[in-house]
């Protein structure tokens, strides 16, 4: 069974290769799938032990371009899910972070000599980040259970420029710079339940009082952001 499975994979790979190389009967477009490869390349080449900040959220890219004109559709997708539970002896915090980023746009690719390929285009971008954090505290004076929910919904557009080095005919290593205008609506909500010990002067006793509260704020921001070519994409053409 496993031999058949491996054989099927190998056969399909050859099919893809053959499909990609035959212009006369094949489709009129090239497909590119890219993946963010900074960490991988750092591991392989052992560049340095530094960790510069990366602000490109698109982990996976896909482009389909016409073989004749070099222009076509480009998509970028990024999704991060992070669940953390931390704290100390007197406090416990649980966080769930969901960050989603999508871009769809037009792109035109052109070859610069045998080894280089430059691309330029424009994208529409949509992103949504949500963070839910619950923190539980216990102190001599109060016990608190506070949930914060922050969301950021962004929408924007802007130009993109990319440069790829062809390691082989099918495998490329490249980077990109973007200059996106982004409009973001941020909202922040706090749900709190706090129990404090109050003093009753009539009886001389203390007693617990629990208060619940909900607050919500929101704001809108606009920004024009230049993203430097700090991210490397490993792209496969097929």
């Amino acid at each position: 069974m496993s031999k058949r499975f491996v054989a099927a994979i190998v056969a399909s790979c050859f099919c893809v290769l053959a499909y990609g190389q035959d212009d006369s009967i094949g489709p009129k477009s090239d497909h590119y799938i890219g993946i963010q490869a900074n960490q991988l390349i750092k591991q392989i080449l052992n560049f340095s032990n530094s960790n510069p900040a990366i602000d490109n959220p698109y982990l996976l890219t896909y482009a389909v371009t016409s073989r004749r004109t070099g222009s076509g559709l480009s998509i970028g997708l990024g999704y991060n899910f992070n669940e953390t539970s931390d704290g100390d002896a007197i406090s416990r915090r649980e966080t769930e972070i969901n960050d989603f980023s999508l871009r769809v746009g037009y792109e035109k690719k052109s070859s610069l000599g045998k080894r280089w390929m430059v691309g330029f285009g424009a994208d529409i971008i949509i992103d949504k980040d949500k963070n839910v954090t619950v923190n539980i505290n216990d102190s001599e004076f109060n016990k608190s259970n506070i949930e914060t929910i922050s969301t950021a919904k962004g929408f924007g557009l802007g130009p993109r420029l990319s440069l790829n080095f062809k390691i082989t005919d099918r495998i490329m290593l490249g980077t990109e710079a973007t200059y996106y205008f982004r409009r973001v609506k941020n909202s922040f909500a706090v749900n709190s339940t706090i129990t404090t010990m109050e003093f009753d002067p009539n009886t001389g006793n203390t007693f617990p009082v629990t208060r619940t509260d909900h607050t919500e704020t929101s704001d809108k921001t606009k920004r024009l952001q230049f993203s430097v070519p700090a991210v490397l994409f490993l792209t496969v053409k097929f």
């Binding site: 530094s50 007197i90 406090s91 416990r92 966080t95 923190n135 216990d138 922050s150």
Partner: protein
């Protein structure tokens, strides 16, 4: 065969679920432990830094009671953090590495030192409120909201009464208490200080490192280690060629001048052995990596510090031999102040039981 595979898969799944099981222990109750009389902070009214000490360690300064100032500024690390980018109240990463806190009140020629990596503040009382109202760090919407929040906490009524003679909790009192506490955190008892002022001997390796630091490689041109704050002229910033195109432009974000792009505050090297990782974004995990940068890794940049250019104008990669790096690091170790990082008057007053 299929049954065995299925059973094995179920066993693995059970083990995985068990590993993920939430087995957090019960929380302990926090209580505040302060001496009857305030500790000696060397200030006119030591009740004010005492109030600041409680505020500094109190997670109620964040919107969800999850982080305090001390979360990112740990005493044992010279009030820095041992992570490249610290996490805020929602576990979101901040954008810069936490700077150590020490000798903040030291100014040169009466000029207050610039604060933060990008020098966006030079007033300590205003600086202490910035992380509190930052939407990633502590998330409080307004200093007045914090004052109202703390005014129902019984111990703050007492602490404010002691400090200011009134139980009213105010944002101005919070700022003064915190800044007074931070100003009291001083580092003046390193081996290098004792060498300079009391004649304590350095080892041969440390002496070699000192000569290399001050002489051969002229590190002292920027990091003037003989000065408690680290530099003679307050407010110095430098572009040290970390990138040819910075993602974070540092001082330019404050001044708006393109000529300030990539410039960051030159940090004091006091306790530098404790404050890893290094640089504004914590990119270097070790001092060896920092030395490698100055040795071979300086990138050209239009704003590169002229002290880091050779006579021909090229980036000055210093090609520091391994032996010299070892000696310089040995010397830097003489800048560690073990007294400051264990001093009870800077320690956490909240205990658990």
């Amino acid at each position: 065969m299929k049954t065995r595979t299925l059973l094995l898969s179920l066993l693995m799944l059970a083990l995985f679920c068990n590993a993920c099981k939430n087995d957090d222990p019960e929380l302990q109750t926090a209580y505040l432990e302060l001496p009857g009389q305030p500790l000696d902070y060397g200030q006119f009214n030591d009740h004010i830094p005492t109030l600041g000490r409680v505020l500094f360690y109190d997670p109620q300064l964040s919107v969800n009671n999850s982080v305090s100032c001390a979360t990112c500024h740990k005493q044992v690390l010279a009030f820095s953090d041992n992570t490249a980018l610290s996490k805020g109240f929602e576990n979101r990463l901040t954008t810069r590495n936490s700077m150590p806190i020490q000798n903040l009140a030291v100014s040169s020629f009466g000029i207050p030192a610039s604060l933060f990596w990008d020098g966006r503040e030079n007033n300590l009382r205003q600086m202490v409120m910035r992380p509190i109202v930052n939407h990633i760090e502590m998330g409080i919407s307004d200093p007045e909201v914090l004052a109202r929040k703390l005014s129902v906490v019984p111990y703050y009524r007492d602490l404010f009464k002691n400090a200011y003679g009134t139980e009213e909790v105010t944002s101005a009192g919070i700022a003064e208490g915190l800044s007074s506490f931070l100003a009291s955190i001083t580092s003046t008892n390193t081996k290098f200080d004792r060498h300079n002022f009391q004649g304590e001997k350095l080892t041969a390796l440390e002496e070699k490192g000192k000569a290399l630091f001050i002489g051969t490689y002229d590190c002292n041109a920027c990091h003037q280690v003989q000065n408690p704050s680290g530099y003679i002229f307050a407010g110095t910033f430098s572009n040290i060629g970390l990138e040819d195109n910075y993602a974070d432009n540092g001082l330019e974000n404050t001044t708006g001048h393109r000529s300030d792009a990539g410039k960051f505050k030159i940090p004091s090297l006091r306790n530098v052995m404790l404050t890893a990782p290094y640089m504004h974004d914590g990119r270097f995990s070790t001092l060896e990596a920092v030395m490698d940068h100055y040795s071979e890794g300086i990138e050209d940049h239009p704003n590169l510090d002229p002290r880091l250019r050779s006579a021909t104008g090229e980036p000055l990669n210093m090609h520091i031999p391994e032996d010299d790096k070892t000696a310089i690091i040995a010397f830097l170790n003489t800048l560690t102040d073990t007294h400051m990082i264990t001093d009870p008057k800077f320690s956490n007053p909240f205990k658990a039981r």
